[in-house]
Subunit: 338 residues, 2 copies
């Protein structure tokens, strides 16, 4: 495969793992050798990368002996077990699970926001949660320009965030409905077709869900600012790809909606689509397949001083997961941090 | 039809008008005579009420000559023209459109919240917007107990709020998708199936939509408290029936989540479903067909002092429109205000 790194994708047959392979190819990441790893059940399947078919291998302790960079997306328990093994063998891990995100020694990185956090990594780097990534990309210019005091966010999250099984579940429920039938939910505790579930992840003692508290804790860690107050409500909606977020942000200093549009138009990884009178605002159906974070409905939050309301949409599997991980890998490679 | 009032339903063939007829029957409203009115196009259709079929008549200026109570749900322009005509003939109008809601002389009433506003009506009474109704029902006990300073709300609104055509549009788009096709949107500017549209009503100069500003202005009028600050983001989602709302409310005085649950459990028209660890929270699919406003996910808003976050769901065609109008009529009838 030419010059480059010996790379592994762990969880290669999942929704995010699959997309990681695609994004490595699209962005022409310098891959010398690609190893695809998954559970025993998926071993033997063949996946396309560039012009070759690669057989998926079972993930074992020796999988990382000849790997320099591993992108993990196989769930927190797999990461907890295998990422330290990979790191002990000199492999640098970019982990998409929640396993290490809040570890003080582990950089939690969104390339448009805090690339500098990569500098002193100790072989394991964490990819933030999908709903956090798109929010901090959109809020970074506001934090720099005016300082963020408080964020209220409500999410509209696509089923692809749960994985392939959930995409299949929504498909099957909709097909059953068209044929006058009803299917028992399996992946979610309730039917997702034609419904909204205010439930992502387990619930904690404070009444928030894990997903909601990720948006609080990860935002503070990425911005390195524990004074930012965050309250999140995360909701699963019957959408396949693309998370949408309704954000009300209270700033320390005033910014007009025009200021915010100007800042966001110059911000890396952001596109402003904001002409609602002409029916132009970001939509999950439109952003699927893109690596950009889209922002619209930018207006003064009329309920508070220095408030801004906005609508932020991104492809949760790409920018929310696979692309962000590959972008991290690109910096590591370019800055010789691997 | 026995004892009671001579009643008309204007817009009888629409989604809300149809439900008004059903709710009048279900709640055994004292109807002596029922006149069903609609546009010329719908005249001649027959609709069931109790044991008889009633033919829909064309709405004209003389339609109200023998009517004591008219429930209007045929859009703002029809109300603007015909409600004053009806009133001038001595008929009391309960109007579901936005035409008169903000008129100082017109009571804007949610029976669980401000029934007293009916006392001095001048023949026209306005039914609030669906998304406002369920919010104020859930917030009334908090306003009474602790005072509301600020409300941030994001809605997940069902297509039935737009009417029969929109229900049909979502159905047809989903059927087309199952057959591998795509349909041009007609009712909405974009596909609603598998999408979220942050656009309900026209957009105003301040960047908010009409629907969003209704939630601001109507809430203040119903609570008779212009000090309440509100910012709303209203979003159409691919759900048939049932609006959901993510609400963050900042109170003047502290209330714990348990206080809020206690208050809401005692509140009229409210049911608390709040055991998320056991998968119990209100869902639009579950509340369709009910007249109750359901509240769950009650927790401290951890981003502010005296903050409460909650999830509020109600059937937008029933409590959000038809039932609320019939409840108003019930008070008018019982208190001899007709």
């Amino acid at each position: 495969m030419g010059e480059g790194l010996k790379v592994a994708v762990v969880g290669a047959t999942g929704a995010v793992g699959n997309m990681m392979i695609k994004v490595l190819e699209e962005r022409n990441f310098p891959v010398k050798q690609l190893k695809l790893l998954a559970s025993k059940r998926s071993a033997g399947r063949k996946l396309q990368f560039r012009n070759s078919e690669i057989e998926v291998q079972e993930l074992t302790e020796s999988s990382f002996d000849d790997v320099e960079l591993a992108l993990f997306s196989a769930g927190a328990s797999v990461s907890r077990k295998f990422a330290p093994i990979a790191a002990s063998k000199g492999c640098v891990v970019v982990d998409n699970s929640s396993a290490f995100r809040m570890e003080p020694d582990v950089p939690l990185v969104v390339p448009e926001v805090n690339p500098y956090a990569l500098k002193h990594h100790k072989k394991i780097i964490a990819n933030p949660n999908c709903s956090t990534i798109q929010m901090v990309v959109a809020l970074k210019p506001l934090q720099d320009a005016a300082g963020i005091k408080r964020i209220i966010v409500t999410t509209f999250q696509a089923v692809s965030g749960t994985g392939q099984k959930a995409i299949f579940e929504l498909e099957e429920q909709v097909k059953a409905w068209v044929h006058g039938k009803q299917l028992e939910p399996k992946v979610y505790p309730h039917q997702i077709a034609f419904n909204c579930l205010p439930h992502i992840g387990s619930f904690l003692d404070n009444g928030y869900s894990e997903e909601e508290m990720k948006m609080v804790n990860e935002t503070r860690k990425i911005f390195e600012d524990n004074s930012i107050q965050v309250s999140a409500t995360t909701v699963r909606v019957p959408v396949f790809y693309g998370h949408s977020e309704s954000i009300n942000v209270e700033l320390k200093n005033p910014l007009t909606p025009d200021d915010v549009r100007d800042l966001l138009e110059k911000a890396p990884g952001v596109r402003v689509i904001d002409d609602p009178g002409s029916f132009k605002y970001p939509l999950p159906l439109d952003v699927a397949g893109s690596d950009i974070t889209f922002v619209g409905r930018i207006r003064k939050d009329i309920s508070v001083d220095n408030g801004i309301a906005m609508w932020v949409v991104a492809d949760n599997i790409r920018k929310g997961a696979a692309t962000n991980a590959v972008q991290i890998a690109e910096i590591l490679q370019k800055e010789s941090l691997i």
